[in-house]
């Protein structure tokens, strides 16, 4: 006790200083709003940062639940997306012209299923009988021919792609106007190449010559199909077999147009009569 008293006495200056200074600081913090606010603020800052750290670690423990909740929310949000809705909108532009009766009109459709690697490829689009699609209509894209409508349901239709061994389309060479039929899948199953048959031997065929639709079948005349890749592949007859590089890239097909021919029924009815006459 005595020693303590000696100790305090020796450093009396310091203890007095601490005493008075402490009293002053207490006055400062308790009576001045700015310092009080600041003192509480800084202490809450420290406490806040501690809480933040703890929360950061606690976050790991509930990670599983959080992931589940987020996945559920993602699924709910995905269901609200426009792409998950069925696109019912049909834009078809028909030009009304009294001098020229329109023969073809186009229905735009989106490809929702597609294949290019099979022997017989089919495409499904999001248009069906509700939108006026009928079996046998021609389908094109912005780059060329796609195929022929095979089956139609209420909202969807399947298209027999050009890359199908049964597809046969009437095509002609752009310069000579000689026509033949375009087939696929006889020699190769390359989705980029097709074969133009039944072009007579005497026709001069140049490389890179354009191959277009003839207009005899479902398609309007003059639609580009591709370019001549190899000429004169002879099959031992009086006709040429021409290898055609297809203009259309079937593997990246997204949007197609389905062609409605106003007079197709009349044409077919007339042509059936020919067969009956035989």
């Amino acid at each position: 006790m005595r020693n303590l008293w000696v100790f305090i006495n020796r450093y009396s200056t310091f203890f007095l200083f601490i005493l008075f200074f402490g009293g002053s600081v207490v006055l400062v913090v308790s009576n001045n709003t700015f310092q009080r606010a600041n003192a509480i603020n800084s202490s809450s800052q420290i406490i806040g940062s501690i809480y933040q750290q703890v929360d950061y670690f606690k976050g790991y423990l509930s990670l599983n639940e959080a992931n589940l909740a987020l996945a559920r929310e993602n699924a709910a949000l995905r269901a609200l997306l426009k792409s998950s809705n069925y696109d019912d909108k049909v834009i078809s532009n028909i030009v009304r012209d009294s001098t020229q009766q329109p023969e073809y009109s186009y229905i735009q459709a989106r490809v929702i299923n597609n294949s290019v690697n099979q022997k017989n490829n089919y495409i499904t689009v999001n248009r069906g009988s509700r939108h006026g699609i009928k079996k046998g209509m021609g389908v094109i894209s912005s780059k060329g021919i796609v195929g022929i409508v095979l089956n139609v349901s209420e909202n969807f239709s399947t298209i027999q792609s050009l890359l199908h061994s049964d597809t046969k389309i009437s095509a002609s060479l752009a310069k000579s106007q000689a026509f033949g039929s375009l087939i696929w899948g006889t020699q190769t199953y390359d989705p980029k190449k097709a074969l133009l048959r039944d072009i007579p031997n005497h026709v001069k065929v140049e490389k890179n010559e354009q191959v277009i639709t003839s207009g005899f079948s479902l398609f309007p005349p003059g639609i580009v199909i591709g370019t001549v890749l190899e000429t004169g592949i002879s099959s031992g007859s009086s006709f040429l077999d021409i290898s055609v590089l297809l203009n259309n890239d079937f593997s990246t097909l997204r949007y197609v147009y389905i062609i409605t021919d106003q007079y197709s029924a009349e044409k077919e009815a007339l042509e059936i009569q020919n067969l009956e006459n035989d």
Partner: protein, 170 residues
Amino acid sequence: MTKLLLENILRFILLILAQVFLFKNTGYYNLVIPFPYIMAIMLLPVRISKGLLFLIAFLTGLTIDAFYDTLGVHAAACVTLAWVRIIFMNLTIQDDDHDSISPGIDQMSFRWFLIYVFILSFFHHLTLYLLESFSLNNILSTLTSILFSCIFTTVLIILFELIFYRRKKR
């Protein structure tokens, strides 16, 4: 003894009044503010008891705080000043023949007095500004303020000393 007491009380009152009514409005924006009232604590007799010195310093600070509406800030600064004063005295004055006289140019050398005033006002201002800003944000501008205010206060105190106490000696 009575004369010494009266002199100190008069000096205290005059300096407080000067501080509150004159120097409170003097200064270069908020950068440089002089606090020459600390002269009242600086010029207290050399061998004043520690307890009394701290008490006077504390009360001086509180008086100024009352006028400045900053309760405790000046008190803390003055207490710091008193502490530094005791340490400085212990380091520089060894002999006991300075009992009960005021430290001044007439008693000490001019150099001693200049260093004494500068160091004491520096610690006073340091405590004052740091407590006032109460954060280490803008520490650079606070330190600049401290330094320039300290110089200003020192100049003022030296001027007072030269004007009032040199004449008395003559």
